[in-house]
Symmetry: C2
Subunit: 442 residues, 2 copies
């Protein structure tokens, strides 16, 4: 087949028909992608993270930071977990935060009686509904679960406090059992029902189907909780919102049992693409980095190198063709604008994959004057050294300056100046966060 036989392709140079192709799918008429709420569980699920031990002061500091960020709810460890857990819960309720304070209890009157006295705005009730949990955890059948749930819900409601009923391990529960119990608790007036992927087994299309089905059964809001064992916690949360869920459980850095749940920062990365105005107007995205650092320090972990938004290389561009395009227009290789999060982008040009456009940008930054052909020539020299060993910026600058001195192009007064927009906007030096071990790579 010769190229002549190729049919003329449609050139679409006009703008897209929909203003934001990553926004809610019009076929999802129940979508809450542009109208979701966050329940942060760093102080409940996050306390179940292997490394977590929070002092009262740390809990208060985290709660205040989450409130300043703008989460809608803050969920706390059950007041019956320990004496100090109860006191801390009461202390946080007294802070007068804008976020509503929740605590998370077993579906049992003993727990409920303590919870309603703490001053919380709402109680999250949970019980295992899968065969596994019914057999090996609490040993109760669905009738017993329903009876208990009704008693607890009516008691909490009688105190004028919000109530959520969630199944546990929802995706391994019998669908008919689930819909039955949700329908029952919806009828008696729970504020929310919860779906929980307690073991992290769910995949996005399963989530969408279950949420859509549940949406047709209950009139209350749907909350979702996703563990990340199989790496789908962010995608599952997003897809749940598409299906009509309203609230997502998150924790800072996703900390929780095992490898945790949907992370606050990662979900913000996902949601800002789909609903930029809503997300930017509601949440203080510039605070993500500080909150992550606060919690990382409290539970003694490092920010993962590949963390969305705040990973040290999240906005670092390296390959030559990427660097070239980013210099022309950052949207070419970025769906997230680092400035929305108080971050900066970087062009990593000191390596053998570099291209002449990135080097030209560096030449401009150094206020040197080289023709395009000369830049291409010096780029070849840089790539040659980059083949032999890791480069740092000083290496590259030395090669450029040596080359410039050699060719001795006279600098024209008023000649092409540094492209100041590029230089201010794009830092072609080092990433914001230092990499873990930096010495030998530089």
């Amino acid at each position: 087949m010769s190229s002549q036989e190729f049919e003329q392709v449609t050139e679409s140079t006009s703008g897209p028909a929909r203003p934001n192709p990553y926004g809610p799918n019009p076929s999802d008429y129940l979508s809450n992608v542009q109208n979701f709420e966050l329940i942060d569980s760093t102080l409940r699920e996050g306390e179940q993270f292997a490394n977590a031990f929070y002092s009262t002061e740390t809990k208060i500091e985290i709660a205040k930071a989450l409130d300043a960020f703008g989460v809608d709810y803050i969920e706390l460890t059950s007041p019956v977990a320990s004496e100090q857990s109860r006191k801390d819960c009461e202390a946080i309720c007294k802070l007068g935060l804008k976020a509503k304070i929740l605590t998370h209890i077993r579906c049992h009157m003993d727990d409920a009686r303590v919870a309603v006295e703490t001053g919380v705005d709402g109680v999250d009730v949970v019980i295992g509904t899968s065969k596994f949990l019914r057999k090996f955890s609490h040993g109760k059948d669905m009738n017993y679960i329903a009876k208990n749930a009704i008693e607890v819900i009516e008691f909490v409601k009688s105190k004028g406090i919000e109530i959520r009923f969630s199944s546990e391990d929802s995706f391994r529960s019998d669908l008919v059992d689930l819909l039955n119990i949700y329908k029952t608790v919806d009828k008696i007036g729970v504020n929310r029902v919860g779906i929980a992927d307690t073991v992290g087994c769910a995949n996005p299309r399963q989530v969408y189907e279950l949420v859509r089905t549940l949406k047709s059964v209950v009139s209350c809001d749907i909350e979702c909780h996703f563990h990340n064992d199989t790496g789908c916690a962010i995608a599952n949360a997003y897809t749940a919102l598409e299906g009509g869920a309203k609230l997502i459980d998150v924790s800072v850095l996703g900390i929780g049992e095992r490898n945790g749940i949907t992370p606050l920062g990662g979900l913000m990365a996902r949601m800002i693409v789909a609903a930029p105005e809503y997300v930017k107007s509601k949440y203080k995205l510039h605070k993500i980095r500080d909150i992550e650092n606060l919690v990382a320090e409290a539970v003694e972990v490092n920010i993962p190198f590949n963390n969305p938004i705040t990973g040290f290389c999240a906005f670092t561009h390296k390959a030559g063709i990427h660097a070239k395009a980013i210099l022309a227009n950052p949207s070419t290789y970025e769906i997230l604008d680092p400035h929305d999060f108080g971050m900066k982008r970087y062009i990593h040009f000191a390596n053998r994959l570099t291209g002449w456009n990135a080097i030209k940008s560096r030449v401009d930054q150094l206020n040197l004057n080289l023709s395009d052909d000369q830049v291409k020539e010096v780029t070849t020299k840089i790539k040659k050294l980059g083949d032999i060993r890791p480069l740092n910026i000083d290496d590259v600058d030395s090669i450029i300056k040596d080359f410039h001195a050699e060719v001795a192009t006279p600098r024209l007064a008023g000649g092409k100046d540094v492209s100041s927009q590029d230089v201010n906007d794009i830092d072609i030096n080092e990433p914001a966060t230092k990499k873990v071990k930096t010495e030998s790579a530089n």
Copy 2:
């Protein structure tokens, strides 16, 4: 509403109708969830990771490790990127690995002529098709792209080498443009077409729709490449397979441009849930930890604390009700079996969220004899100290031993022995991988 009014719920005690509810959805008749292949790009996409500088020896070591794991393809940096890149490509082709060796080039005859001389089994061709990339990267229209693609594809095919044609930034490309070019290259006999979420903007249901649509247009295999900027790279890969894609691009730890692509280990966690027999028979899952350590060392990063499978707490259970159920049956709170990956599970019992079942298990391990009521009593003491400060195992053991000495229950000869299955199977000591900073938490 009283509990009497509650309708009897269906008790489903029989097994599920489908043997594996997390397996392929029967409605996805084109699904390749049980029949997928892996293209590992640690040595191509991974070289575009900010920290990556691979020596020839490191490249060879990584290639051999990937081959031993069982990846189907290994993709290498373009031989035109630098002189050493070309030599390394040739060296890896000569290793005689079982995995097919690919190199990744621009859609240009200059690159293709060099690539076919390296000894590779296949060439992956890519060109930007979104308006952004057409305008700011290569400046070509779709007709030019098609003409070039045909020339390159026919040339590579004439050498008897596999050829893949991929668009770049597929999810921001015009759908009609995309289908047109894919249909054209399919007609002239490419082995695979590729969809690439180059900027990490796609969400799972978009992916499913695009793959399904493309599947109806081409007869060749579909390969997918997902960046992780918005945290959906694993879920998108899984959903692409559901839609009929056959091959997924991965890299070890997901390293690549910015925060990278679908990680090999994370995708294995996802796939073993859906297709356990296929995954376990095809890939050497025990090798994941060593490969990740090898690459982490090569690019000087730490394994993220929350990494699927190999994160230090991926199989650590902490909250009392979790520990209780895990001790009874690990499937209650685990969808992944740590033994499949050469890992172990841990019960974290030295904290204030602990429960008496976990402490009872420790009492048994210590070969002490306490009644259930006594275990509950000592659990209260442990939780009390856990309210004051972080605990370690020695703290808990001391409390248990003191308590035991106090109650001075005579140890019955032949009395209840350690539950050896629990003890061998479940390590209630410390996680396998040390946490990043360990001193102050212990």
